[in-house]
């Protein structure tokens, strides 16, 4: 633990722009244009489990594997990989000649150590039934306790980033980001700014862009303005309302891409209010998805009656567009024993009012307005829903202590590029923090288990899972998401990764 005097604080205060701590400061090459990425996502310390998303996206750190646009694993630091027939032993052969930013070579031992750190941290890898991770010559061997098909996808998650041995201190904490990517950290000022410069010893082709910076701007309107005025070259997380305007700007190209993030309403099926599947269906029918998608998301195609968007091929079920049906909803509620009571609010046989509280949070700016819209729409059915806007952590906590009744949230099914990794968490028996609550279904469990063990026809199993979720509605889907990126026309070669693992800066060049 560092001991510092307040005197040091005072001295540091005098330096208006103190140098930062975690990376060796590199003299700034002047004159070269910096590619400016502006995004809403703040980042914390150097630990990949916390801030890996930024390091991966900015090309600082790399994982053993990557993912293609369909979410299939592709080689990255591992040149090839293979698994034993019983699905328990996985071997990842490292790409030769890779160096870390501090000049040290990538060894199997270093890679295995990084993965062991990730396994011990709060990362997707920690949820994998790993028995051992060890180095064997040029390869990393991962032995599992039981088969886990989405392992390659988990290894493509940013938290499974491979860092140099020097990146860790004695206690195993990450103290500097020393990765292998095409860019190295020049200045790391969490939570808002990261400057990177080209790493000349990268194993891939030399990137055209020499310097780039990642800047967090939390206000959507400010991001849009920065894109418009040329203060941002690559602007991420554009809000739907700003898109039409940005599309008119001659300086910008706006790319949109559906991403597997779904806004869902989590219901506590253990509570007497939502235990009845008919009630859950009634709620689903009462939602004006088209209105929400049009007014708030500015894209009617985002209206979602099922969990998985079309981009998740194999999981998505073809079907008609969603429709609001208050009549059926009222009938279902009546069947479930809810009758109109005083003040237009439904009451059950015991005279209990249908009143509940819906928790949501502001990390995704569209959630509070959607919650407000739902509040008004459920009110038409006679349901009194209060909205509580708090911290996202209220949801897992409320899930754990059972106090949660309802939550509106945005769930990313591609946190690891294979949705199965997330579904196994969310819909395991008893439910998951960001999935079902007080609800389980043996058929779904069996289906997911079979998928994890890679038994049977994956396509059929996926559809089976999607169908079960669509009928039982442990969570009610509301709207899908799209990723909107504004690209300065000075840039060439910009592509968007639907899994948001990388901004692919190494593919970008200055146009003209």
């Amino acid at each position: 633990m560092l001991r510092r005097s307040l005197g040091a604080l005072g001295a540091a205060a005098l330096l208006a722009r103190p140098a930062l701590g975690h990376a060796p400061a590199v003299a700034r090459r002047s004159g070269e244009r910096v590619l400016r990425v502006v995004a809403p996502f703040e980042f914390a310390g150097p630990d990949p489990a916390r801030s890996g998303h930024v390091f991966a996206r900015m090309g600082v750190g790399e994982m053993l594997l990557g993912a293609d646009p369909e979410g299939r694993p592709v080689p990255m630091l591992a040149a090839s990989w293979s698994g034993s027939p019983d699905g328990l032993l996985h071997r990842f052969l490292l790409r030769p000649g890779v160096r870390f930013h501090d000049g040290s070579p990538l060894t199997a031992e270093a890679a295995a150590a990084s993965l062991r750190h990730a396994h011990a941290a709060a990362s997707p890898l920690s949820r994998v039934p790993v028995a051992t991770i060890e180095a064997a010559g040029d390869a990393v061997l991962i032995r599992l306790a039981r088969p886990f098909a989405p392992l390659p996808a988990v290894l493509a998650n940013y938290a499974s980033m491979i860092l140099a041995p020097a990146a860790y201190d004695g206690a195993g904490r990450v103290r500097a980001v020393i990765g292998t990517g095409p860019f190295r950290v020049e200045r790391f000022s969490p939570p808002l700014q990261l400057d990177v410069g080209r790493f000349d010893d990268w194993w891939g082709p030399r990137p055209a862009v020499g310097r780039a910076s990642y800047l967090v701007v939390s206000q959507g309107e400010a991001r849009a303005t920065m894109a418009e005025s040329g203060h941002a070259d690559l602007t991420m997380g554009l809000q739907p309302v700003t898109l039409a305007r940005l599309r008119r700007s001659p300086r910008l190209e706006v790319l949109t891409l559906p991403v597997p993030r779904t806004r869902i309403l989590k219901l506590n099926a253990a509570s007497p209010l939502f235990a009845d599947q008919r009630v859950r269906r009634a709620l689903s029918l009462a939602i004006d998805r088209h209105g929400i998608a049009t007014a708030l998301l500015r894209n009617p195609a985002m209206a979602a009656e099922q969990l998985f968007p079309p981009v998740l091929q194999g999981w998505h079920l073809p079907g008609p567009p969603p429709r609001r049906d208050l009549e059926t909803a009222r009938a279902l509620l009546a069947e479930a024993g809810w009758r109109p009571g005083g003040g237009g609010i439904l009451v059950d046989a015991g005279g209990r009012r249908f009143a509940c509280r819906c928790a949501t949070y502001i990390n995704w700016p569209e959630l509070p307005p959607i919650a407000t819209a739902l509040q008004a729409q459920f009110r038409e059915l006679g349901i009194d829903m209060a909205v509580g806007i708090g911290n996202s952590s209220d949801i897992p906590r409320g899930h754990r202590d059972g106090s949660l009744e309802m939550a509106l949230m945005a769930r990313n099914y591609a946190l690891v590029p294979d949705p199965l990794g997330t579904l196994l968490q969310d819909f395991r028996p008893g439910g998951g923090d960001w999935g079902a609550m007080g609800w389980s279904d043996p058929a779904l469990e069996a289906t997911l288990r079979a998928l994890a063990a890679a038994e049977g026809d994956p396509i059929a199993l996926r559809r089976q899972a999607a169908r079960i979720l669509g009928e039982a509605l442990p969570v009610i889907p509301i709207a899908w998401s799209e990723l909107a990126v504004a690209v300065n026309r000075d840039l060439a070669g910009v592509t968007v990764d639907p899994f948001e693992t990388s901004y692919r800066l190494h593919d970008i060049a200055w146009a003209g």
């Binding site: 633990m1 560092l2 001991r3 510092r4 005097s5 040091a8 604080l9 540091a12 205060a13 330096l15 208006a16 103190p18 930062l20 701590g21 502006v38 703040e42 914390a44 310390g45 630990d47 489990a49 916390r50 998303h53 709060a122 990362s123 938290a159 904490r173 000022s189 969490p190 939570p191 808002l192 700014q193 910076s213 800047l215 967090v216 701007v217 939390s218 400010a222 991001r223 303005t225 920065m226 418009e228 005025s229 040329g230 203060h231 990390n363 708090g390 911290n391 996202s392 952590s393 209220d394 897992p396 754990r400 945005a410 769930r411 990313n412 946190l415 968490q425 998951g432 923090d433 960001w434």
Partner: protein
């Protein structure tokens, strides 16, 4: 003579020192008590702040809980904090894991840089108007500045900032609406802060100049036969400066409050922004550290203002007593 000087300079410093201790104690106790009583389990919030909503689940929370020893009794955690504070160790951020002191030093740099631009800017905007208005009380300049200052002080800082962004970033596209890289990024946040402060300083300067201009000692200095230049330089400036310097202390409250708002509005990575964030994330060491640093700087600058006042105003200790 010596005793007078000691009384003039040493006593206020000692009083401020006591105040600084008081600040440390209050913030330590208050911050900790409040944070301990906050709704929601701290570990869950920290997990969400650290790992993002998608990874912030119960397993991550359990990890955080173990790592930070949050299951120790509150009293033990508080004593631990006080003990470390006495060794000038503010601990590590629960979110980033970095030493709080290190993070604060960096954020403080940004905050001081912004304040360092905003304060002179507000003086530049406010004082000349105040001076001109004070020289002709009731004249057109006075009326216009009065009107402008009343109007300006009624505009919420956030609306002022948005207005400036709308004009300079969106309408004319001259200045970036966010960021903190170069001098251009400084302009809008600094201007937002400075306009609010200038509205106040113009009024204080005006009243001070008007009072001095109408004072019998200025008339007497002229009656003595001193040339106008000497009258203003030798007798006017110093006396008119006294309330203006004393105002600096008052400005400081406005500055601290303005900083929190402006930093949040413009995503400026300063200490105010950090404080708001730490409150959202329940990052106890950062909340306490940031509040402590803000409180101590507040006391420090007030002490400097006291000293400056004592330097230019020989009556000071008597007036204060």
């Amino acid at each position: 003579m010596d005793r007078h000087l000691l009384g003039r300079f040493l006593r206020p410093v000692l009083m401020r020192l006591v105040q600084a201790l008081l600040v440390a104690l209050i913030i330590g106790a208050l911050g900790f008590a409040l944070m301990a009583a906050l709704p929601g389990d701290q570990a869950f919030r920290l997990a969400a702040a650290r790992y993002g909503p998608d990874m912030g689940d119960a397993a991550a929370a359990a990890l955080v809980h173990r790592e930070l020893g949050l299951d120790r009794p509150l009293a033990v955690q508080f004593l631990d904090w006080v003990g470390r504070l006495l060794r000038f160790d503010l601990g590590h951020s629960l979110v980033t894991g970095a030493p709080v002191l290190e993070e604060l030093a960096m954020q403080l740099g940004y905050t001081l840089a912004l304040a360092g631009v905003a304060l002179p800017l507000s003086a530049l905007l406010g004082l000349p108007f105040g001076l001109l208005a004070g020289l002709r009380p009731g004249g057109p300049v006075d009326r216009v500045t009065l009107g402008l200052s009343v109007l300006l002080r009624a505009v919420p800082a956030y609306a002022l900032g948005l207005l400036l962004v709308a004009v300079f970033s969106i309408r004319f596209r001259w200045l970036p609406p966010a960021g903190f890289e170069g001098w251009r990024e400084f302009i809008l946040p600094a201007l937002t802060l400075a306009l609010g402060l200038a509205a106040l300083s113009a009024r204080v300067a005006r009243d001070s100049v008007a009072a001095v201009a109408a004072s019998p000692y200025m008339a007497f200095a002229r009656w003595k036969g001193l040339p106008e230049r000497a009258v203003v330089l030798r007798h006017g400036l110093r006396n008119a400066a006294i309330p203006v310097v004393a105002l600096l202390g008052l400005q400081l409250i406005g500055l601290v409050e303005g900083l929190v708002i402006v930093e949040s509005l413009f995503s400026w990575p300063g200490i105010g922004h950090a404080l708001v964030h730490a409150i959202f994330a329940r990052d106890v060491p950062v909340v306490q550290g940031a509040a402590l640093v803000m409180g101590l700087i507040f006391v420090l600058v007030n002490a400097l203002v006291d000293l400056a006042c004592a330097l230019i105003d020989p009556r000071r200790p008597r007036a204060a007593a």
